[in-house]
């Protein structure tokens, strides 16, 4: 038997179903990879090999008993540590939630377990999902398995906030992982590590049990090696949840079954505003290549305009911190998590001590920004204005989708950067999400697929943005690119 850890979701699911290997063998293979890479990559905050084995045993027993198997039976996955997992520490990569063990399971993770998936562990991330390089985690940086081909040995950023997820999938520590995307947190790390990831339409995946960052933007989604694997996993993760008032009450389409890379009759929009000054040459080249591939797949290419694009990032950095400043108020040391109670301290002192010690610098920065923009006298100038911009951006997309079926753009303006290269300049870091944020603000489905390597040997991603509810269109365009890109590069194992 070849190495099962080279297999993706579909191959494992099918192999287990056909009896080519057992689910336990798969879990054992990935458990071993997780353990071997932990010190070098730091992708997991907690590994849960027993959980992976336990789920695998159940699948093997069910198969032996001739029972029907779930859509992800036998597939072990990594769970971003933003999803509450019953009985397993859930930290959002923060000190303030260190040691917090939920008595409940998030809706999305529960759906995955119900479908026969097993948990390899809780994946590292940027603290409270705030960051684009995974450098804000209280539990240390995740190191990308990728290296620049420059003879140096710089540790590269796996992207963020789902940096543990991207690194783990790229390094074959898991065939797939959950991510969450508030302003690019699935797509940007997927692009940085040469894997696929899709953020579905806002409301497809329940937010219940996911530690909230910015409620109106947060969406869970899958990160995996290819488009088919994303489709399979997204089908399992999606679905109406009465416990989330913003959940979409729509049936979940059979995305995997309807996958087709045939783009004949489809129009692909190319937004001129995304051709920003200083766009990396390799990124521009890969975008042109993507256009050529989709043309080859039969699509018609049309120029479109998204005129308010340049306001998206500023609006995002008002709305997301505003919501975060309120969402994170519950971490106060009163009921759970960290409590720092200096001698003789009163309630206010306890709040200050607990939150000072419990939150990292980037989280504090965003709480401060959010508190400021919601304050009396500033609310209209910032928050109300940002909401208007958000409406205009959504309208831009509405207009554009009169002319095209999907939009093609780069996922990020650059490839991965070295750890520590950006931390001193938060604005430069924020700019990394400039192409990802507009789709988040509009609540649209968007995906990153690998397009090739840049001159440094680092992966580049192409982003497909679709109409609301049209994940199928996004996945199909992704498949058309994937089958033409022939992206087989993977990081050389140095860990």
């Amino acid at each position: 038997m070849s190495d099962v850890t080279e297999l993706g979701v579909a191959a494992i699911r099918d192999g287990v179903a056909k009896g080519e290997f057992t689910a336990v063998e798969v879990a054992q293979g990935f458990n071993a990879n997780v353990a071997a890479a932990q010190i070098a990559l730091n992708a997991f905050i907690v590994a849960t090999p027993e959980a992976a084995l336990g789920a695998a045993q159940k699948v093997d027993e069910a198969r032996a008993a001739g029972q029907p198997l779930g859509k992800m039976a036998g597939v072990p996955i990594g769970m971003k540590d933003l999803f509450a997992t019953k009985g397993v520490q859930t930290t959002a990569a923060s000190h303030i939630l260190e040691g917090f063990t939920p008595q409940y399971e998030s809706s999305v993770s529960q759906k995955l377990w119900d479908a026969g998936a097993g948990m390899l562990g809780k994946l590292n991330l940027d603290q409270f999902a705030m960051g684009s390089s995974n450098e804000t985690s209280y539990f240390g940086n995740v190191i990308s398995p990728w290296k620049r081909k420059d003879g140096g040995n710089a540790a590269m950023a796996p992207g963020g906030s789902s940096g543990g997820s991207s690194a783990a999938v790229a390094a074959r520590l898991c065939p797939a992982a959950t991510g969450t995307d508030t302003g690019g947190s699935i797509r940007q790390p997927a692009a940085f590590t040469g894997i696929s990831g899709i953020k579905p339409t806002y409301g497809r995946c329940s937010r219940w049990g996911i530690v909230a960052f910015a409620s109106s933007l947060d969406q869970a989604g899958p990160m995996a090696r290819d488009v088919r694997d994303c489709a399979i996993m997204l089908e399992v993760m999606s679905g109406f949840d009465p416990k989330d008032s913003t959940s979409l009450d729509l049936p979940v389409p059979a995305w995997e079954a309807a996958l087709s890379g045939d783009m004949r009759g489809k129009k692909v929009g190319i937004p001129r505003e995304y051709r920003v000054d200083g766009l990396d040459g390799d990124v521009a080249k890969s975008w042109d290549q993507g256009i050529a591939w989709l043309k080859d797949a039969g699509a018609e290419i049309v120029d479109i305009s998204l005129p308010h694009t340049k306001y998206a990032l500023p609006a995002y950095y008002i709305i997301a911190p505003a919501e975060a400043s309120s969402n994170l108020a519950r971490y106060d040391g009163v009921r759970y998590g960290l409590r720092d109670l200096p001698d003789g301290a009163g309630l206010q002192d306890m709040y200050a001590a607990t939150r000072s010690a419990g939150f990292g610098a980037e989280v504090k920065r965003r709480i401060l920004i959010g508190t400021y923009v919601l304050s009396a006298g500033y609310y209209d100038a910032y928050y109300t204005q940002a909401q208007k911009v958000r409406t205009l951006i959504a309208r831009d997309f509405d207009e554009a989708f009169r002319l095209c079926d999907v939009i093609l753009a780069p996922t990020t303006p650059t490839a991965s950067f070295g750890l520590g290269e950006m931390v001193s300049d938060p604005l430069a870091m924020y700019l990394n999400d400039v192409f990802a944020v507009p789709a988040s603000l509009a609540g649209l489905p968007a995906m990153s697929v690998p397009a090739g390597l840049n001159r440094e040997g680092l992966p580049l991603g192409l982003q497909i943005i679709g109409k609301a509810f049209d994940e199928q269109g996004v996945l199909n365009a992704g498949l058309a690119i994937e089958s033409r890109a022939g992206f087989t590069a993977k990081p050389e194992r140095w860990w």
């Binding site: 998030s106 937010r207 219940w208 400043s325 108020a329 009163v334 206010q348 919601l374």
Partner: protein, 498 residues
Amino acid sequence: MSTYRIQGATGEWEVVIGLEVHAQITSNAKLFSGASTTFGAEPNSQVSLVDAAMPGMLPVLNGECIRQAVRTGLAIDASINKWSRFDRKNYFYADLPQGYQISQLYHPLVGEGHIDISLDDKNPEADVKRIGVERIHVEQDAGKLMHDQHPTMSYVDLNRSGVALMEIVSKPDMRSPAEAGAYVRKLRSILRYVGSCDGNMEEGSMRADVNVSVRKVGDELGTRTETKNVNSVRFVMATIEYEANRQVDVLESGGTIAQETRLFDPDTGTTRSMRSKEDAHDYRYFPDPDLLPLVLDDAFVEAARASLPELPDAKRHRYENALGLSPYAAGVLTAEVETARWFETLLTSTAKAAGKGESDVAKQASNWLISEFFGALNRVGKSLDNSPISADAAAELLALITDGTISGSIAKQVLEKMLETGDRAGTIVTREGLKQTSDTDAIDAVIAKILTDNADKVEQYKGGKEALFGFFVGQTMKAMQGKANPGVVNELLKKALG
């Protein structure tokens, strides 16, 4: 209607009052979680993951709370906003697990309405004043801190955390403590009729923030203070009384009123400053992104309207117009929904037992309830809520009067016996031999004896002192031990006296 004035050294001052009443919505579950809302449960026994604001928990709106708030709005003739929205009011406190209260600042569920109050108990139809209601919005309650459980720590009880409240905001239309008292009583009455709040101020189901300012008559509005969480009608009135006089003193001694939040101390009847405007929280309100806007359709509102019971004003008018009761009696009987309910059962049963129409027995039932039964209950320390005599049993007693089985005075004795023993009226009358007699022979015999024994008075009566007739009736009834039918006695006496 009110000419309540504070007599200051510099002249008369008028008081301007607005009330924000927080009323707990009657529902089995909390506003955004499935946890129970029963009062008095063990601390932290009614707390869901949502109420404790565990990471990743989300609010889901309880439709019943919205229905109750809409019914309340309709009951005060208010406009219902079919599009409303929930906002977060952000502040830190240990009884507020989320770090924000979900409320409605910008787009409340219920718009403008009004409540009519009267200060004249004798005639509630006279001297009616309309108090405007600005809005009703729906929001979460906070938990409770307990400071007496540990020498250095405070304990937190989250049972109330997330319970649904209506905040009913009046316009600054009241001008005296009495008007404010009447407003709170009337509002409480309406809420209890509607069934949207039990109005229990002792248990905290209803409490008021009292806004008071003073001004010289005809002047612009003065600066107001807000006294928080006043939990009885009496305290609301005391707060206004104290606060108005304090403000007049401050202003007349050259000071200015600080716009501030104050607390009422029931032990001293005074208010004291809690925090000034400078220290006021910046609540950083913004729309709650976890909830969609609340959109109601016409059918929902109409179903809520159709479910409303007859409300106190309408009922009072009906009692006056259809049942012929006095405005006073109608007012007393309709002030509380339990009284009206009890009265209506009494009325139906009495009419049935007596074989008459309800309007024929309404006055009798009303008089008996107000002048006999309330007093009797009072003497045994009970009220209608826990009356040892059911309306049905009382109807039996009234029917015995109506059909002439017993007289009114015997009925009093029977009532006392009913309260003592819990027995039915008929049983007592039979057992004690209290049935009144219309036996003319027996009564004639008694009359003959009385006229003989009181020959002098008979002479005086015949000489024109007709007032003595009452004396002969009294003597006859006494000799008959109250059991003679008064009508028959009258008739026979008149005949005997010529």
